[in-house]
Amino acid sequence: MLTDLFPNIDPQDLLEATQETLYMTILSLLGVVIFGLLLGLLLYLTNKNGIWENKYLYLIISAFVNIFRAIPFIILILLLFPFTEILVGTIRGPNAALPALILGSAPFYARLVEIALIEVDKGVVEAAKSMGAKTRTIIFKVLLPESMPALVSGITVTSIALIGYTAMAGVIGAGGLGNHAHYYGFMRRDFDVVFLCTILIVIIVFIFQFIGDFISKKIDKR
């Protein structure tokens, strides 16, 4: 019956494409979380009344974040082609998409991290200071644990945006379900392929959302 509904599907190719999408999403998500946390923490700490208050550093990081958030993703990929070629050695395939995916999403996540940290009760940070905590202790034992549910839901939101980006990157040759839908579906006028790719992407998004919500709820003891 499935072959009747989707006559042009090659399950092997489709599986490969799905794997590529997941590979790109998860690997870039890892990079985004690391860079985003770093940038977000720097934004929070250098901001006014922060532990490392520094107007100029804040302005520089803030400008960097804003610029990379302003560039449309599809243009960012094109802009980064030379950089990608040096870094990855090719501009095609899933690995080639990673620099653009990370650079395009990390600033977005950084803002979410900053917001999450601002939401942490100032009194708790003050209490830690009154106990003689080091800045490192305040970051790892107060700020991050106390903002964890927001950080996790930020990861969920970012990962879903990333899945969208991988599809876009796919269209210009990065592989994955976006690529598959474009070449094997749209170009050949086999719309059943486009449709099935869409369903698969939607399912992946749902799974990410479900896992994110579950973890976020589980760790929230407020």
Binding site: V124, A127, S130, M131, G132, K134, K221, R222
Partner: protein, 343 residues
Amino acid sequence: MISIKGLSKVFTFNNKKLTAVDNLTLDIKEGEIFGVIGYSGAGKSTFIRLLNRLEEPTQGDILIDKQEITTLSANQLRLARQDIGMIFQHFNLLWSRTVKDNIAFPLEIAGIPKAKREERVQELIDLVGLTGRENAYPSQLSGGQKQRVGIARALANNPKVLLCDEATSALDPETTNAILDLLVDINKKLGLTIILITHEMHVIRKICHQVAVMEQGKMVEQGNVLEVFSNPIAQVTKKFVAQVMGTADEGEDIKSLQEMYTDGKLIHLHFVGESTNQTLISQIAKKFPIDINILQGKITQTQAGGYGTLFVQMIGEEEEINKAVVFIRDETSAEVEVIENVN
């Protein structure tokens, strides 16, 4: 124990200067519960935060346990803070940690090994009366229980000084009393010096030995609690004393008492300290052939003994009444005043 000299804090915003704490000088003895009272905006919260430099002083010296706090480097200050516990109005517990782990936090900061930490945490939990709630999260606790965790946390590293920043202001009266009892308890048990700030005279009355009244950044009055209660000088102090004693409308009361009780004499008794514990009224009733009618009054207990006033009506032979008055004046520590009948 604590010696503060010329302490000031000036905030500057929009090129405007605001002196929150203005040239304070005071000494606090070891083992004392020292209360600072003032209305909001008086600078008391800034004052207590200056003591552990959560707020940097603009000027002045703070000597805590022979250590000059104001000149410490950032690193030395961190270590010094481990010897100064602090509790807060809104408790400031980490919601992501259980009761046990919240109390263990300052121990982690001080680098105490895990096994020792657990032992100490259990001790503290028993001390503040939270046995059985070790694994609860702050969100599962009542306000009073949260403050108990805050107190246990503040005591974890065996501090010499405990700073209380409006520690009971977010609690209901009953819970307030329980927390105050706990503070007195640890003050006695551990010989801890406690500095607390509050806007409730009730707190001062109930647990403090010494009180300072703050207004617009200055200490307008200071002394032991009974002295300040019985002889308030500054206007703001009188208002605070009236808060617990209800003496603000005494003049009115005397007038109406005079109108209502025209027999015998109206006597105003004033108790300060120990005398309240004596059985004054029954002694007089036994010694002199007069009747005593208690009309109005309030006597309250402070850390240094009772304090209060009582209006009584003495009925009988005038000579006997006079004798009784002289007896009270000469033989007891209560102050007595005969209210002359204007009629």
